[in-house]
Symmetry: C2
Subunit: 216 residues, 2 copies
């Protein structure tokens, strides 16, 4: 497997392919062509072939892909062949909502610990997950073997939280605070901007085509 | 302006450019080249030129782009030159967290009303926004001139909620329920999958490069 950098867009597409393959496996399908996959899930077959070819020769001429085999490959490529221990920093509405979400999603990401600075929240449980004092981050992160952190604190606290997380050696961080953060070079930081998705909808509403019409 | 369909990726990039231009304007910059924009915000200058050229000739040879002019254009292209009235369906942890988020983001999307089916939540306020009975969706959506709806209900209720929303004439919907939904043809539906972003982080952690090293 090549270890060069591939883009976040590519990993997002691989995640989508994996979901589609899981669906096909659940439907009892054993093989699928790139065209079949593209048609069923509204994807681009050339893009599928290009994305997968990057990681090796998975397709079989005249057959397409073996669903189970490709699932296993993608699972491994995406690092989903082992569980990840997640922490959510910020036990407010967004943090607890995300804890619910990741529990319900039954993914490979188990919320192992949460953190907050508010004495009223420290020591409480969110689901079955304890909220710890952010001051004790390094010790708790090590105890729970945390490898991914989610920042769900108000924007003004996010830079300090990022600092606390990275000095503890966490290398993968997802930031929900609506503020641009700069992570050290060897740390992967993704900022999720929930307003950008809304702006895509506004673009759609702004189009003059009659079928995209305004409400009234 | 062309009215053909452009991809969601393109509108996302336009949103990002607009954020960058807002930052430049706040810093007092009056002009910027595509290279300058790319360098400062870690973007791709050829992509910027291609994306903007699609909508017209904004750049001036030897000058680049006028920051304020390009902001105005992008704002208009993205349909952000008028406010949008948002509703969030689901007043649980995720719905209320999103209401907080969009209020704090000071965007063009004002949360005008929320909905739930739980009698204990109906009639309460989230911030200053009232939670209405989902049964009264059509009437309330019209009263508040809602044009964008966010679905933040558990997966099992999402299809029914989508149905209720679309029969009321809402054309733009963002779905946070972890379930694939199928919208009518003239409705723009975006599903936000918060697990896909985590999987991109797992990919990064799975890379063998020493600088991407595991925690221990």
């Amino acid at each position: 497997m090549k270890s060069e950098k591939i883009s976040e867009l590519t990993t997002s597409r691989l995640s989508v392919y994996l979901r589609c393959l899981n669906q096909l496996a659940a439907d009892g399908e054993r093989t699928v062509s790139s065209e079949g996959l593209a048609k069923k899930f509204h994807l681009n077959s050339a893009q599928i072939r290009k994305d997968l070819a990057y990681f090796g020769e998975f397709g079989v001429r005249g057959v397409g892909y073996y669903v189970d085999e490709l699932r296993d490959h993608l699972t491994k490529i995406l690092g989903l062949d082992r569980p990840h221990n997640l922490t959510i920093v910020g036990a407010g509405r967004l943090g607890t909502a995300l804890a619910d979400y990741y529990r319900a999603a039954q993914s490979n990401f188990a919320v192992a610990a949460m953190f907050d600075a508010d004495p009223a929240k420290i020591g409480t449980l969110v689901g079955k997950v304890e909220v710890f004092d952010i001051k004790n981050f390094p010790e708790i992160a090590e105890r729970y073997n945390i490898d991914v952190a989610v920042i769900a604190v108000p924007a003004e606290f996010a830079p300090a939280v990022l600092q606390q997380i990275t000095v503890s050696g966490i290398k993968a961080i997802m930031n929900f605070a609506p503020v641009p953060l700069k992570a050290p070079e060897n740390v992967k930081l993704k900022t999720v901007d929930l307003t950008i998705s809304l702006e895509g909808l506004a673009y759609f509403l702004a189009q003059p085509s009659p079928q995209n019409g305004q409400r009234r």
